[in-house]
């Protein structure tokens, strides 16, 4: 039986996005849940996971204000914008939405639903 802990970090991101928009702090928090790492170690992992998912076309970045508002920029520009916002922070343990939110693309949604189906034993 597949469980949450069998997910890769990318699978976890898109599986979460099936149910709700995922915020920056949630990515950060999942890394914290999996391993006791310093903030300095968590940040590059978080940015790496997000960049990977954006460049693979699995998620898009945006803001949540009266619904999800996607940023009007390319995946690579989104990844760069997120890094530019996040890296200079003195305390990188952000609050939900400080940097951005994520929404699945159709490809991400397909992968996310496949993960949930696997966990449901389907």
């Amino acid at each position: 039986m597949s469980t949450w802990d069998d997910r890769t970090l990318i699978e976890d991101l898109v599986a979460r996005c099936v149910d709700d928009w995922v915020h920056d702090a949630e990515v950060w928090g999942e890394i914290a849940r999996r391993a006791e790492l310093s903030a300095e170690d968590r940040l590059p992992i978080a940015i790496g996971v997000i960049t990977f998912a954006l460049l693979r076309g699995l998620v898009i970045a945006g803001d949540v204000m009266g619904g999800f508002q996607p940023w009007d920029m390319s995946p690579s520009a989104s990844a760069a914008a997120i890094a530019h916002r996040w890296l200079p922070l003195e305390d990188p343990a952000v609050l939900p939405g400080d940097i951005c939110w994520f929404c699945n693309t159709p490809a991400g949604d397909e992968l996310g639903r496949a993960v949930l189906a696997r966990e449901a034993g389907e």
Partner: protein, 179 residues
């Protein structure tokens, strides 16, 4: 005749003593329950009992009309420490214990309630005594609690309806969705 009167008086005294004893035992047992001083959620009702006074009770069934008056005190949650790997702050108290007792969603950090009214009650419970924080980038209300925990209630979610976002002092995140 007088001995019969004496017998009756003694019987009455015994009966009265027994009634007083029953009343006392009942009262003491009620006080012990109320002394629990904890939040509880059994899947159908959110409640907090405080020393000497039951302060918050709410049925999850919207048709129930005789709900007790709700008075929420400070949640003052404490995120304890544990040696259990990966669950360092899930101590058995307040916000964390309530989250732990809620039905789980499909994600490791998601808990669920049955209605928007339950969600609002839960948020009131969490945020009581907290300090409102202005966060223009967050579409909802956000509170800082005394123990370092932060909670927000978001106006919208992808699954529909409002959602509670909780951030523990060590950066871990929970969401509470409406089923």
């Amino acid at each position: 005749m007088s001995s019969i009167r004496c017998l009756c008086a003694a019987t009455w005294r015994r009966l009265l003593t027994a009634v007083v004893a029953i009343v006392l035992v009942t009262s003491i047992s009620q006080i012990r329950v109320v002394h629990a001083d904890a939040y509880t959620y059994d899947g159908t009702a959110v409640a907090r009992v405080e020393t000497g006074v039951a302060t918050a009770t709410r049925s999850a069934s919207p048709e129930v009309s005789d709900r007790p008056t709700r008075r929420v005190e400070s949640s003052s949650a404490t995120w304890g420490t544990s040696t259990t790997p990966g669950r360092s702050f899930l101590a058995t108290n307040n916000v964390s214990s309530i989250l732990d007792s809620l039905p789980r969603g499909r994600q490791s950090n998601v808990r669920t309630v049955e209605s928007d009214a339950d969600l609002q009650d839960l948020f009131d419970l969490f945020s009581a005594g907290g300090t409102p924080v202005s966060r223009p980038s967050y579409d909802g209300q956000w509170y800082q609690l005394e123990d370092g925990c932060q909670v927000g209630i978001r106006n919208d979610s992808n699954s529909g309806g409002r959602t509670i976002d909780v951030r523990s002092p060590d950066g871990r995140i929970w969401k509470v969705h409406i089923v």
